[in-house]
Every structure is written in C-alpha cells, then in structure tokens.
Amino acid sequence: MGEMTTGGGTTIQVLEGSETGFATTKFDALLNWARKYSLFQYPFITACCAMEFMAMASPRFDMARFGAEAPRFSPRQSDLLWVVGTISQRQAPALKRIYEQMADPKYVFAFGTCASCGGFYDNYTTLAGIDKVVPVDVYVPGCPPRPEAVIDGLLLLQDKIARGDRTPAIVKPRRDPTVQAGNLVRLGKKSTAT
C-alpha cells in the first residue's frame, strides 16, 4: 500500500497491484458515474447535420473516448437519443414514440439549430424545436455545430448526469457573434457619423 499527498495536505491510501481494499461512496453517485461513461446512443438522424455527426463519430474526433461509442439501433437498448437534423410535423409522432420506447434513465441531445429551435424553417411543415415533443437535456446550436461543440455538449451531459441534474443545458458558442459583428469591416454604405 502506498501513500499519496494531495494539495490540501491530506494523505490518502492508494492500493497497489494485487492488494485489496474497499471504498465508500453514495450509491447514486456510483450509479451516475457508471451511467455517465456508458451512454448507448440511438441516432435519430434526419438531415444534413448527419454529415457532422459522422465526422464526430469517426476516429478524428473519436467519440469513443467518452464512453459514448456504441450506437444501438433499437431505442429499447439505448440511453441517449441524438436528434440530428430538422424534424417535420409529420415525423413528430415517430420521434415521440421512439422516445417513449426508451427505458429510463434516458437523455435527449438536440444536435444543431434545427433540432434545437427549428432553425430558419418557419413554415407549415417544420417542428420548431424537438423540445415541443420530447424533453431535451442538452442543446447544441450551430448549422451544423462543430464537432468540438458537440463534444462540449457530450461532456456537459456527462457532467449533468454525474450531478443528477435534469435541467436543460446549452452549449454556448465560443465566440459571441453579436460581439464579433461590431468588429467587422462594414462594406457598402458609408458611416453617416463624420
């Protein structure tokens, strides 16, 4: 058995090799820790964000690092519903039914602006955000979102699971476009202020 000193000056015992021992924790914390790293995902992919989803799931960005590796094409075997792309009014009942078929605990991930709020579709055929049909845990806006933003969203979801927090969360853009816009060079009309 070895010893390790942490920053606070406390010393903790560390097991080495074939030594045995025990640790105490809350059962919920243990369960949430297990859930956090074994998110089986159901990809509900409908539109162009799928390309970004494929990029994200592929080795370059390597979603498997976070334990969210295995896609399950049955909602009954999955924990995390990825809604990737625009959902039309006609698809809404199917999405609701898929969600209802998933076993608890279940989490929903709104991938991209269309899934989050309907995006620029404001018409007779598009559902303005999947949260009108199913409760959403994490929103990732972007058209499409960068894989980094999606990984941010996944880590946010894992954090929420560990804390047992079910309030919706959002991945904020790293650069605020409204702030950035002020710094852009304005083309066209000359400024009236002289």
Partner: protein, 193 residues
C-alpha cells in the same frame, strides 16, 4: 427551334391556343384547359413533336393578380428531336372554385407523383388521376399550404405540443424567423382562424 412546335400547335388547335411566346429560348403556349389532355397526347404522338419525356408539372397561384387564379404549368421534352415546350392552363376563380383539370398520367406515367404533389400543395384536382392522394403532407392536414391564402405561420401538429416557457438564450419562446416577415404583408394564422 421548337418554335415550330408552337406553329404546329397553332395550326392544329387554332383558337384553343390562347397565347404563345418565346423568351430566351423557352417556348410557351397558354392553352384551353378543356383540351389539356388532348393537346398533351397530340404533343406526344405527333411525329413532328414527339414529346416523349415528361419533365415537370406544377402550379402557380396568382391570387389577386389575375383571374383565373391558378396556372398549371407542364414542361415536356423530346429526346428524339431535342426540343422542349412549356404548356400552361389557367383555371379556378378567386374563391378556388373549379380548380380542376384533366390528368395527363394516361399520356406520361411520370406525371403521377407530380400531379399528386400539385394536388397536395395547391389543391388542383386532376380528373382521371389513378390515385390522387396527398404525397408530402399527412392525410390529416387541412388546406393547401402553397396557396397564397394559406397563413404563412400556421402549423397543424399531429401530436400535442409541450409548452417550453423557459427556453435558454439564444433561443426564445418566439422561435422561427418572424423578423423576416415584419416588412411583408401576409395572412396571419390568428386573423384567419
């Protein structure tokens, strides 16, 4: 080149060809809707025309701009003679009565789903169509969404929608892009319902 097709049509059908024009190489004939299928069949079968390829069929709603209100537009092409023509027929009054025309599925099979889409979006009734159902919208949908008097912001959800009052910024409860409509006059759902 296919101006010759317009000449053939005019000599064959005379007064039933209401007007023709050829702009930028697109030859267009506005025809009598009563003889729609007959003219279509002639275009396909006549060896001078030989329009063996169906290209497109759609409709345009000119509400408040012209009467008859709807214009059904058909594009056909001849692979043998390499020419194309656009046929138009004007139907329906301002209250959308009499929006019907003969189906051309018996002439070109490819017209089947185009006519279904046209029926779905504009409510044009194609007489003699083998299976005139909605193709894009769900059967429960009421009205025809691409008509100019369909409210632009009216949706018809199939499931009861959840209320999401406290949505986080940058989203808001007033979603979509209503700011794009501030400068346009359009029929709104609240007024027409």
């Amino acid at each position: 080149m296919s101006k010759r097709v317009l000449e053939i049509l005019k000599s064959k059908f005379g007064d039933d060809i209401y007007e023709t024009h050829s702009q930028f190489g697109d030859d267009t004939a506005v025809v009598n809707p009563q003889r729609w299928r007959e003219i279509a069949r002639f275009l396909r079968d006549d060896p001078q025309c030989a329009m063996n390829m169906f290209v497109d069929l759609t409709a345009v709603d000119y509400l408040g701009r012209q009467t008859p209100r709807f214009e059904v537009v058909l594009h056909v092409h001849s692979l043998e003679r390499s020419h194309r023509i656009r046929l138009k027929a004007r139907i329906g009054d301002d209250d959308a009565n009499g929006v019907e025309i003969d189906s051309v599925v018996s002439v070109w099979k490819g017209a089947n789903w185009f006519e279904r889409e046209c029926f779905d979006m504009f409510g044009v009734n194609f007489k003699g169509h083998p299976d005139l159902r909605r193709i894009l919208m769900y059967p429960e949908f009421v009205g025809y969404p691409l008509r100019k008097d369909y409210p632009a912001d009216k949706t018809q959800p199939l499931v009861e929608l959840r209320n999401v009052p406290d949505k986080l910024p940058p989203f808001s409860t007033d979603e979509g892009m209503p700011f794009g409509r501030q400068t346009h006059d359009y029929p709104r759902g609240e007024e027409t319902n």
